[in-house]
Amino acid sequence: MKAYQLLLFLLFSQAAWAQTTIRGTVQDQRGETIPGVNIFVKGTYVGTSSELNGSYVLVFEELGDFVLVFQALGFRTQEIPVQQRQEPLEISITLKEAINEMTAVTITAGALEASDEKRAVVLRPLDIVTVPAAMGDIIGAFQTLPGTATVGNDGRLFVRGGDASETAIFIDGLQVGNAFGTTASNVPTRTRFNPNLFKGSFFSTGGYSAEFGNALSSALSLNSVDMPLRSQGDISIMGIGGGINQTLVGTNNSLNAGANYTNLGPYQNMVRQNFDWEQAPASWDAEILGRQKLGSNTLLKAYARTERGSMKIWQAQPGIPQERGILLGVDNRYSFAQVSAKHTGKKDWSMYGGMSFSTNSDFLTVDQLSIRNTNRVFHAKGVAIKEFSDRFSLKSGLEHFRFEYREALPDEGLERSFEDQQLALFSEADLYLSNRLIFRTGLRAGYSALASQTWVDPRVSFAYKFEHEGQLSLAAGKYSQMPVEEIRVNQPTLQNTEAIHYILNYFLTKNGRTIRAESFYKNYDGLVTYEGRRFAYQAIQQQGAGFARGFDLFFRDQQTFENTDYWVTYSFVDSKRQFSTFQSQVQPGFAPKHSLAVVIKHFIPALKSQVGTSWSMNDGYTYTDPNLPGEMNSKTRGFQDLSLSWSYLPKPHLIIHLACSNVQGRDNIFGYNFSPTPNEAGQFDQLPIRQTAPRFLFLGIFITLSKDKSANQLNNL
């Protein structure tokens, strides 16, 4: 009997010793069970997964002390040390969520992001360049986005009551000086850069990160393509010129080289123009872009571009309609070069930085007077990011700017210039309290040697994501920018102009639909006021101030109608400021109160075609009529433009693109020029500022030569 008992005891204990059973359930912080959790004994093959109800059972031969690991997608891995013979083995745990880069809340206040990789984006890069009214210009497409105003006689980016000079443009984080081509007054300009070079853009209409300075209203950051997919040759034949581009791709490097020539002369001879051209705008450019991978963690890029453009135009003067007016000539030479590097290091460090240099020379002739000005911008920047955990990261950077400006009247032997060195330091911390809540605080400090001014701009933002995926962001900050070079050269001691932004944003993107609503308040201080005219500024002061407030709405839908993508934008801006030659706070001529844009793109598979239409309008531009009392006492009639485009892809490597702006031929007026002195009747004569032509018709044929026959230039359109 005793022997039997002993045997039984031995058997039982043997069983107990030989096998361990662990049970339990796994749940998240809200008490919901988590299925599919990987549960295993560290250092062995022993493991199992939790069931749909979060429960698990793990049976194995015990090895002594061990560590039980719980691992699941979206949660922080947890390790539980288990001591030998610890009974009963019921281990139920609560896993903490991990911050998920893809689904976590992002700060969307002020941001209009276009990217293929990130989620909280408004557009894809391709969407931008296929906007019919854009005619291949990046800025043209941004003018259909909330917060921007179309100023058809300028062509640059005007954001929320801000002047075009208040928008800074960056390529791969480095500032681009003179990003727009030089043009005669009231002839719209275009961005110099080929949209095809960029894989995405970050356009902020306010409240942006401490990384960006020298911008009072807005920052546009363009990111160039890291590695093109394949070697190919691209040829474009257009009604207004042509171009050729070659891409060579190796394992660890690639090279793009291209050249373009455009001349509007033949086109303008065929299509009636509103303007009296002596010599139509003509330009050529050449660019080269190289990339080299150094190991798997470092990417080096170098980009250089040079171009020359010229035009001559007769500008009629109000009150003397029988004469051609004043002959304006523009000859612009521009070169831009930059090198940049990105490096992902060990221990959650990453770095990027580089240097950029741009030089812009304008040879202007106004009647008999010739003016020559040169503007050079050098920017060097280094940024380091350390991720201390998935919840906390710190980004810090150091920047150096050199601004050089020279203005000369060669015939009279007059010249003036200035040179400014600026230093900037910034630091910005991102803190995720959960996947739903993020705080960002940043500080940007700057110093200008010329102005002997030091400044500190604090910036904060936060965002909260709701259960329904919508998110609310709030941003506020101080922004500083030196006055424009043309004025600064008159008075080098001018200090920063300042703006304070407050932005409240709601953003929801779900099932192919995006809703974005934003309201803002912006306060301006230290704005420059002067008397006199361009190149002859007098009584320069910095007592100007003002504000801009309003809201904008954006709705995009790619889901409801098959093969159709459309978006609608409405912006309301109420802005008044004292600047330029104004004596009081007035609504600027570039800030219409109401702007509306509708873009529709539809793909017709049977015709292998994409057709697009964009319609923009606003309620008109303010101007001062000297025949009436007061400033900015009048408003033009509303602006309207209906553009159509048709892209036909008969073969995968051939695209034919036809586009027409202002199809209705509406005579849009952006303001009036008045004669400087009254006529015999005591009235100031006026001349409307009109579009260069009633319509612009674009025809282009784009051919791609590649081993891969499916390659095409769709990105070019």
Partner: protein, 222 residues
């Protein structure tokens, strides 16, 4: 003396092999074969998740092997394809698949199977939102399959997946499926060859033949 030394050396190697090499290797092979057959049977997202977990456990134990991560990546990619959840859910699965495939590629660079898997995952990301991702991702997928084929011209999976992309392109441009069908046929031949040369209990990737047959029936059978 010499003989003795060399004999003991041989013995040492032999015993070392026996005691350290093979049992571990056996455990690995054993675990892999078991899990691979389970993976081929897995139909639901839940079963695939269990499979993926199992391969990740094996991977932790055998960090110098590429196959555990490869199969885990395949399981996650298939979860993405089969998930009935939101776009975000699917993207999460594909992102995890990508991470695992990239890890496998670090262990075994220029491996045609892994490159084909990376392309398969890209195809998955594309399928979540073809309207807005097609233009951007289809050249990436084709490029990746092209690379996989160049690395090993007898990889039937790379050719089969390329066929599927070719078919999508042809549809887009209103062309016939001839090119895709040609590719499927050559993949079928390669699958046959693969089946003939493969050893029992092989843990190498062998999936795709049934899918190729089905696709051929659907697109090219008449």
């Amino acid at each position: 003396m010499k003989t003795y030394l060399s004999l003991s050396a041989i013995l040492m190697i032999f015993t070392w092999n026996l005691s350290f090499g093979n049992p571990l290797n056996d455990a690995y092979l054993q675990a892999m074969s078991t899990e691979i057959s389970k993976l081929y049977q897995a139909a639901s997202v839940e079963e695939l998740q269990k499979s993926a977990n199992a391969f990740q456990r094996i991977s932790t134990m055998n960090p110098s092997e590429w196959l555990p991560d490869y199969y885990a990546a395949w399981a996650y990619a298939n979860m993405g394809f089969r998930s009935q959840g939101s776009a975000q859910d699917k993207d999460n699965y594909f992102a995890q698949a990508k991470k695992l495939a990239d890890k496998a590629a670090q262990v075994s660079p220029n491996n045609s199977e892994i490159v084909a898997m990376q392309g398969y995952i890209t195809m998955g990301e594309l399928s979540v939102d073809p309207g807005s991702r097609g233009q951007h991702l289809s050249p990436v997928a084709m490029q990746t399959f092209g690379k996989a084929i160049n690395l090993n011209r007898t990889n039937p999976r790379a050719i089969l997946l390329m066929a599927q992309m070719e078919y999508g392109m042809a549809q887009f441009f209103g062309q016939g499926p001839e090119k895709a069908c040609g590719l499927i046929l050559s993949s079928l031949e390669l699958f046959k060859k693969e089946a003939a040369t493969v050893k029992n209990n092989s843990i190498e990737p062998l999936w795709g033949e049934d899918y190729a047959k089905g696709l051929y029936q659907e697109l090219c059978g008449n």
